[in-house]
């Protein structure tokens, strides 16, 4: 550090030097950074094992300097279950998109939550399939246009967008569920706090923790990053409200 300078911000040592492949404005890079800052702050690099999904974040292991396993599409919850059960003192998380967690992997997701598997889901919900080029997701909004619903999602035939945080919060063995976002610095700070809280609950052995990130996809939404934030505020949050959906510590206090 140069004399007279004060360090106010740095890249966490737990991120690799590799340049991320994510599009400009995408929340993936923000959430990656938060997770690795938390790993650094909590000094748990040697105890953390991550599972990446199939989706835009399929290469997360190139950026996160921790041990990781790549799961088959939809199976991250089963893979994380396997890891956590044989390494119960490690901090295990799955990092999954909406197609992965709420379509092809719904069974694995729900059953892991029902068993209260003691790992953390980081669920990036941007309402669209990013990696394969903008197809409809189980979370695509009513009327939203994608390449496989070019006239807008028809909820009559495609069903309603899945509200995963709400669904997951109904499981008794799930300890913490929060939906966060990163559209403003204030919300971004809340997102980081939520992830840290989830890791802490996990370390206390409280059961499944689930953080849903109401995320953007400027490229496939065909919006600028700034426009994508507006879309989040106008269209996404009204249907996918931010906030805590389940917190067993609070529930216990209220009892």
């Amino acid at each position: 550090m140069k004399e007279g300078y004060e360090l106010v911000y740095k890249r966490p040592s737990t991120l690799t030097d590799r340049r991320m492949s994510y599009c400009p404005g995408c929340f993936h890079s923000t959430i990656h950074k938060f997770m690795m800052e938390i790993v650094e702050e909590m000094d748990i690099q040697d105890k953390t094992v991550g599972v990446c999904p199939v989706g835009c974040s399929v290469f997360a292991y190139n950026y996160l300097d921790i041990d990781m396993q790549e799961a088959a599409h939809g199976r991250a919850a089963a893979v994380a279950t396997g890891i956590k059960r044989v390494l119960p003192d490690r901090i295990v998380f799955s990092y999954q998109g909406d197609g992965d967690l709420a379509a092809i992997g719904t069974a694995e997701t729900l059953h892991a939550c029902n068993r209260g598997e003691n790992f953390t889901f980081i669920f990036i919900n941007n309402g669209i399939y990013g990696m394969t080029g903008g197809q409809m997701a189980p979370t695509t909004l009513d009327g939203q246009i994608t390449s496989t619903c070019p006239y807008g999602r028809d909820v009559e035939t495609a069903g309603m967008p899945m509200k995963m945080a709400e669904i997951i919060s109904s499981f008794e063995k799930v300890s913490y569920v929060e939906r966060v976002s990163c559209n403003t610095p204030a919300n971004a700070r809340k997102a980081k706090r939520a992830i840290r809280k989830a890791f802490e609950y996990q370390m206390e052995g409280m059961g499944t923790t689930f953080i849903e990130v109401a995320a953007n996809c400027p490229s496939n939404w065909k919006l600028t990053p700034e426009e994508s934030l507006k879309w989040l505020e106008e269209k996404v949050y009204p249907y996918y409200p931010l906030g805590v959906f389940r917190d067993v510590k609070k529930l216990k206090k209220e009892e």
Binding site: F59, D67, Q69, R75, V79, G82, R85
Partner: protein, 352 residues
């Protein structure tokens, strides 16, 4: 301490897995192998293995992936339709080089089929039921004792080669009881520096993946796997020969069929007919070369593959014999076990 017991094949393999140091089991009930998870569930309080009755075979095989990748000695068991569902995970584990033991107690197919014994999954097991260029090591036990012995062997091979290893049994071997000698339990100490146990300062991070998006990288990955398979082909071929030295006619059979074939050989020998049995024990790697050598002998007139399917392993026998001698097939389908009598008749018919 070794113990002598009268046990069902499924229960014996479960007990063997415990003794061989299994640390985690994931499975889904399906006839005719549900006794495995039932036995392990009953024994669980006495041991410290992880046991999950998963929501599906798909989930089970991916739990196997996660826990095997985390360095544990892990196992799943299933029967045919369940193993079809597991093929996704098998392909991923083969590529990511995750050791595990899988047992398929085969029943008759295709489709939902029948719960009766079959060898209809031979192709799926030895030619790769999932996608891509890969093999799993495949062992074919023919007795309750081998169910036990193969569990120990399978765990060893899986760890040695970082390869998913499959025991291809059938409903009869799983359900029948025989005298079995259970070996003494071993204390398993994992030595897997590649496992995802948490990155320590003294090493780079461990990544287990089957994704190589650049074709050049994927080719390299494949070449690495193929090089490993060559070593396995060289070192791990196993077979049994019975009355082969002077045999003119040779039955090739594995698993339950090899037991029936042995009975047929005994009958034939009593009648002065020079019949022998060649039993592949490792189904992949297959003993092609040894069968080829036997086919070279002038005295040998033909081979006949006896199977509980429409004729699957016979293709490997033909590959091995390479046109040097005739290769015939006799089998029953749909969960029917060929009787020694009808098998003997079929052979006598070929002799003419």
């Amino acid at each position: 301490m070794a113990e002598v017991k009268l046990m069902k094949g499924n229960e014996a393999l479960a007990e063997a897995a415990i003794r061989a140091g299994m640390q985690a089991y994931f499975g889904y009930p399906i006839t005719p192998q549900s006794e495995v998870i039932e036995y392990l569930a009953a024994q669980e309080p006495k041991h410290d293995y992880v046991l999950i009755q998963a929501e599906s075979e798909l989930a089970a095989v991916n739990m196997l992936y996660g826990s095997g990748g985390a360095g544990a000695r892990v196992m799943t068991t299933t029967s045919s339709p369940g193993f079809s569902l597991m093929q996704e995970g098998v392909s991923y584990m083969a590529c990511a080089e995750i050791p595990c033991v899988m047992v398929n107690v085969v029943r008759g197919g295709p489709g939902l089929g029948t719960v009766q014994p079959s060898q209809g999954d031979y192709f799926q097991a030895v030619k790769g039921g999932g996608h891509g260029d890969y093999h799993v090591i495949v062992l074919g036990p023919n007795s309750v004792q081998e169910m036990v012995d193969h569990i120990y062997l399978a765990f060893e091979l899986a760890d040695k080669y970082r390869a998913p290893t499959l025991i291809l049994a059938d409903g009869a071997i799983g359900q029948m009881m025989e005298k079995v000698i259970l070996p003494a339990p071993i204390k398993y100490e994992p030595d897997k520096p590649w496992a995802t146990t948490g990155k320590t300062p003294d090493r780079e991070r461990n990544i287990l993946t089957s994704l190589y998006i650049q074709s050049e990288d994927m080719e390299q990955r494949n070449l690495k796997l193929q090089a490993k398979y060559k070593v396995i082909l060289k070192n791990e071929i196993r077979y049994e020969e019975y009355e082969i030295e002077d045999a003119e006619y040779i039955i090739v059979a594995y698993g339950l069929c090899s037991r029936i074939a042995k009975n047929v050989v005994n009958r034939a020998r009593d009648e002065g007919l020079k019949l022998g049995l060649f039993r592949p024990i490792s189904l992949w790697p297959y003993p092609w070369d040894r069968i080829g050598e036997i086919a070279d002998a002038d005295r040998v007139k033909f081979f006949i593959s006896v199977e509980m399917n429409a004729g699957q392993m016979v293709e490997d026998v033909k590959l091995a014999v390479c046109g040097k001698k005739p290769v015939f097939f006799f089998g029953r389908l749909g969960g029917i076990v060929p009787t020694p009598e009808e098998t003997y008749e079929a052979i006598k018919e070929k002799i003419g």
